[in-house]
């Protein structure tokens, strides 16, 4: 059935009295009069119908979007009476008090009728008066209280914008739309940047809103395709360059052979003719070498001078001199000169430099490979379950809290926590860990890693720019854009380089012309060209950035994220490395190491009673004992009459027996004979372990030793760091005896024990005042101030938490081998930087004077400009290749 838009009647398409075709759509009418009315002004009726439809649609949506929440029935009623309601997903709430902080903040805003924040669903529900307040204010309020709103943001390309007023109208239209929190349109980039709440609106609706203002929305290209525009042009240019190089090479060879009849007497004489050489050299100069003129002119217009300027001026000088000698040989002869041509010089310089550029372009493409690989890891879609339905959606639209399904072999789209199922996951692309990692319920999964075996469902905890991969990409991009401080000098020089080289070249010409041997003009010209051609500012400029790019990329592949060139530079100077003990050297989670039973009790029995009694305890020692019992699959029973004896232990009833657990003092207070255990307990304590005595029915039954044990690789890592020449120091709040026991096992000689958390910073400062360059290794949260104080802060990450602001180096894996790898990598990268800079400086400071002819008066050595161009071409290639060596190094892990 169709609807008559004019009178509103339902009409059967086949029986309709009239119909009308408008904009490709057929409309049916009950009578001819209705059709006439419609035809007079079709827009009016269609619009009226559309807006009705929207109203209905919105009402339905409104109902749907109101989940039944017991805590806000009264909210609902109010919403219907007046004002509007919005649900904001909140990110970063860790406790119920956070919820009330946000709620208070939101309630205070003018125009807000009521705000309620639900900690369990991580949602804020706000009822507000739209004429008084904009939802964007809610978001800024939430952010001010230190939390994030789960908004998505997207860039939408728009076509057809002409002026700033178009920008205004689109921005306004977008901001009027429900669910859009921020809209900023940029006329120059022809893009709208929209921040929106995905549960309130969708991409399609945003596009519609823009189109309604009369502009066309282009398809949103995925990030990697954007990069491709540049790639395509580069590939095209590279091909063009290659073709021109080969043509140039052939022409150049003929010119070269024809220019030296004494060297190559077998060459047919017509090739020795100046006019023939001229004809051959001209396309090389102006077609193959056109890019130098183009580049030089572009820079010249902006009062800049670069490599192209040097090459264009240098080769032109040789070329024009030769043309003059070809056309007016008599002028030269009358001046007492033998007319000579240097077409081979100009042509070979151009060919050789093109060859250098070819090699350089290829090598430079490889320096950014690591980041391209990382960007390529980003998954495109996710299969989420919303309102009981599974659907594939673009990964940009995944929300925090969404339940995502992952099947074997699939990429995990975002970061999250497994809620159902288990599997093994290949995390090598993020952490560098080559073995698949077992995952079960409550375990974290990282976006972009690959699910190997089982299927599972997980809840998204981080999406969009917050995911581990996004953070890693950003960190690496920032790092690759950075420079080491050592580069500054090179940059300052590069800024003045070309005009100064031109000045030196002119000076060279004057000196050779005035004081040089005969033929002075020839010497002056050739040396002028040589100076122009040999100078290579590119080698100076490429020295650090290429090494930093390759080095940081290499690090990212092995799970080592380096903040930038500065961190790299400092890291190579380190001589002291300070480790925080708990959670860094050790697992940070105490575990049962020894069990000893006396008085005819068995180990298993002790563990059973001990663990049952501790089951409700929240003490870390108790938890360790319970874990151990669970691991041994011992059935635990309920304990009653649980009593915690503050600072000493616990007391409880398990299966009718009284269980007493705690330290020696507790046992003595209760008159329990522990003489058989004290010797053993002391041995354990010396080893850094904490003994827990157990008495059953008033009689000593045994003891359980609990200790925070070293991570598997700690001792090995310490050993390797020592070999790298670093002094390793352990920092801990533990008492001296425990600290020394752990240090002994880790192979650390220097222990700073009983350091209060707030004194860690002072300890680092003290070490620095002794003139040491100190690295601090710790977790990014508790140790943040100490990490920031240290010359290099190395944060040990765990899974998805990569955003560590205080640190210079972040290790994605908790493994200390990463510290060794990080230091090894910084040292090697820095070595490459130094080699590059040395080479670039050395090359220019030695090359330019030689080209100018300073060696001539003493040794009679002059540099042929062709050799100068070969040297120049290879100097920048050698710098890039040297940096690329870093890709192949094997890190000391």
């Amino acid at each position: 059935m169709a609807k008559d838009l004019v009178c509103g009647m339902e009409v059967n398409e086949e029986e309709a009295a009239a119909s009308s075709l408008y904009k490709g759509k057929k409309y049916y009418f009950c009578a001819e009069t209705c059709k006439q009315k419609f035809d007079e002004n079709p827009e009016k009726y269609i619009e009226a119908e559309d807006s009705k439809g929207e109203e209905v649609g919105e009402e339905e949506e409104e109902k749907e979007s109101k989940p039944v929440e017991e805590d806000s029935p009264e909210l609902e009623k109010k919403a219907e009476s007046k004002g509007e309601r919005i649900d904001l997903p909140i990110v970063g709430m860790s406790c119920a008090s956070c919820a009330s902080t946000i709620q208070k903040g939101l309630s205070k805003i003018k125009g807000v009728d009521k705000a309620s924040v639900n900690f369990a669903t991580s949602k804020a529900t706000v009822l507000y008066q739209p004429q008084l307040v904009n939802p964007a204010d809610f978001i800024s309020t939430v952010r001010k209280s230190g939390y994030e709103v789960g908004t998505a943001s997207i860039e939408i390309p728009i076509q057809g914008m002409q002026c700033a007023s178009c920008v205004q109208s689109i921005e306004k239209a977008l901001l009027r739309k429900r669910g859009i929190t921020k809209a900023s349109v940029n006329l120059a980039t022809e893009k709208a940047r929209v921040e929106y709440i995905p549960s309130e609106t969708s991409l399609a609706e945003i596009k519609r809103a823009i189109e309604q203002t009369g502009y066309k929305v282009l398809d949103i290209p995925p990030e990697d395709e954007l990069e491709d525009v540049e790639m395509i042009v580069r590939v095209k240019e590279y091909k063009k360059l290659k073709r021109r190089f080969f043509i140039g090479l052939i022409l150049g060879l003929f010119i070269f052979l024809g220019s030296s009849p004494r060297l190559f007497p077998w060459v047919p004489p017509f090739l020795n003719n100046f006019f023939v050489l001229w004809v051959l050299a001209t396309p090389v100069q102006f077609w193959i070498g056109w890019q130098f003129y183009k580049g030089a002119w572009g820079a010249f217009k902006h009062r800049n001078a670069d490599m192209n300027t040097l090459i264009a001026v240098g080769t032109s000088a040789a070329y024009l001199y030769s043309v003059a000698a070809t056309l007016f040989p008599s002028v030269f002869e009358s001046g007492g000169l033998r007319p000579e041509v240097y077409f081979d010089t100009s042509a070979m310089i151009i060919v050789l430099i093109l060859f250098g550029r070819l090699l350089e372009a290829r090598a430079k493409g490889q320096t950014s490979e690591a980041i391209k690989k990382l960007i390529g890891l980003q998954p495109k879609t996710a299969r989420v379950r919303r309102k009981g339905q599974e659907m594939d959606i673009p990964v940009e639209e995944v929300l925090v809290g969404d339940v995502i399904m992952v099947r074997p072999g699939e990429k995990i789209p975002v970061d999250g926590v497994i809620i159902r199922g288990k599997s093994s996951v290949d995390e090598s692309m993020i952490t560098g860990e080559s073995m698949p990692v077992q995952k079960e319920v409550k375990d974290e999964v990282i976006g972009a890693t690959i699910n190997k075996m089982g299927s599972f469902e997980f809840q998204a905890t981080k999406v969009g720019k917050d995911t581990a991969l996004a953070q890693i990409i950003k960190l690496v991009q920032d790092a690759q854009g950075s420079k080491a401080p050592i580069q500054r000098l090179a940059d300052v020089i590069a800024g003045y380089f070309v005009p100064i080289v031109i000045s030196i070249a002119i000076l060279t010409f004057i000196i050779w012309f005035n004081f040089g041997p005969s033929p002075a003009l020839t010497f002056a010209l050739l040396n002028f060209v040589a100076v122009m051609i040999i100078a290579c500012p590119c080698a100076l400029g490429l020295a650090t950035p290429t090494a930093v790019m390759v080095g940081t990329g290499k690090g990212a592949e092995s799970g080592v994220l380096i903040k930038g060139g500065e961190s790299l530079e400092t890291a190579h100077k380190l001589n002291t490395i300070v480790f925080d003990k708990t959670g860094t050297l050790t697992k940070g989670e105490p575990e049962v190491t020894d069990i000893m039973a006396v008085n005819s009790y068995e180990e298993k029995e002790i563990l059973k009673y001990g663990a049952s009694a501790e089951k409700t305890s929240e003490h870390p020692l108790g938890e360790a004992i319970v874990r151990k019992a669970e691991k041994r699959k011992i059935n635990l029973t309920e304990a009653d009459n649980f009593l915690a004896v503050e600072g000493h232990g616990i007391e409880a009833n398990v299966e009718g027996k009284t269980v007493l657990m705690g330290n020696a003092k507790l046992m003595r207070d209760r008159n329990i004979d522990i003489r058989g255990l004290t010797g053993y307990a002391e041995d354990l304590a010396r080893d850094g372990k904490t003994p827990v005595y157990i008495a059953l029915q008033g009689q000593a039954a045994g003891l359980i030793a609990v200790a925070d044990t070293l991570k598997e690789n700690s001792a090995e890592a310490v050993e390797k760091l020592k070999k790298l020449g670093l002094e390793v120091v352990m920092l801990t709040g533990d008492d001296r005896r425990t600290a020394e026991a752990i240090a002994r096992k880790a192979g650390i000689d220097t222990v700073l024990s009983e350091v209060l958390p707030e004194d860690k910073v002072h300890t680092i400062k003290r070490l620095q005042s002794e003139g040491r360059k100190v690295a601090m290794v710790g977790d990014g949260i508790n140790d943040a101030p100490a990490l920031a104080q240290a010359d290099v802060g190395i944060a040990i990450g765990s899974g998805t938490d990569v955003a560590m602001e205080a640190s210079d180096i972040t290790l994605i894996k908790g493994d200390l081998q990463g510290v060794v790898a990080a230091i090894d990598l910084s040292r090697r990268t820095f070595k490459v930087i130094k080699q590059n800079l040395f080479w670039a400086f050395f090359y220019n400071t030695v090359g330019i004077p030689i080209a100018a002819g300073v060696l001539y008066p003493f040794f009679g050595i002059l540099l042929n400009p062709i050799f100068a161009s070969a040297a120049m071409a290879f100097s920048s290639v050698s710098v890039v290749s040297n940096s690329l060596r870093l890709r192949r190094i094997k890190l000391k892990v």
Partner: protein, 124 residues
């Protein structure tokens, strides 16, 4: 002898000219426009240099500079505003936006990654 004198005088004149042109000559100033938006905007084309390369902006108003890089030549692949701690890659054939608010009057240089291409931002 005359030739030598001529070459010397002309050569020195050229050296002075080169240095004046690249380092000291006055460049055309372009003022940023503020059209119905919060920003004072300028579109800068990057091709062997910056066009315009002297940009005049007003103090205290957010500045939006749209750099369009019209080449793949690597020299211009990064833009640096040292005084504002901005260092950004400029992808070829795309517009990269840089936004900041200058709070103090003065002249600030901006350059390419290597400091060879130069421009100036004048805050009044």
């Amino acid at each position: 002898m005359l030739a030598k004198l001529l070459v010397t005088v002309f050569g020195i004149f050229l050296i002075v000219l080169v240095n004046w042109y690249f380092f000291f000559s006055r460049r055309k100033e372009v003022e940023a426009l503020q059209e119905e938006s919060r920003f004072q905007e300028v579109r800068v084309t990057v091709k062997g240099g910056y066009e315009p390369d002297v940009i005049v902006v007003k103090k205290g108003i957010p500045v939006r500079l749209n750099f369009y890089r019209d080449e793949t030549a690597d020299c211009s692949d990064t833009i640096v505003f040292g005084d504002f701690n901005i260092r950004k890659p400029l992808p070829a054939f795309k517009t990269t936006t840089i936004e900041f608010t200058p709070e103090k009057e003065g002249e600030y240089e901006f350059t390419c990654g290597m400091g060879m291409l130069k421009g100036k931002l004048i805050v009044r």
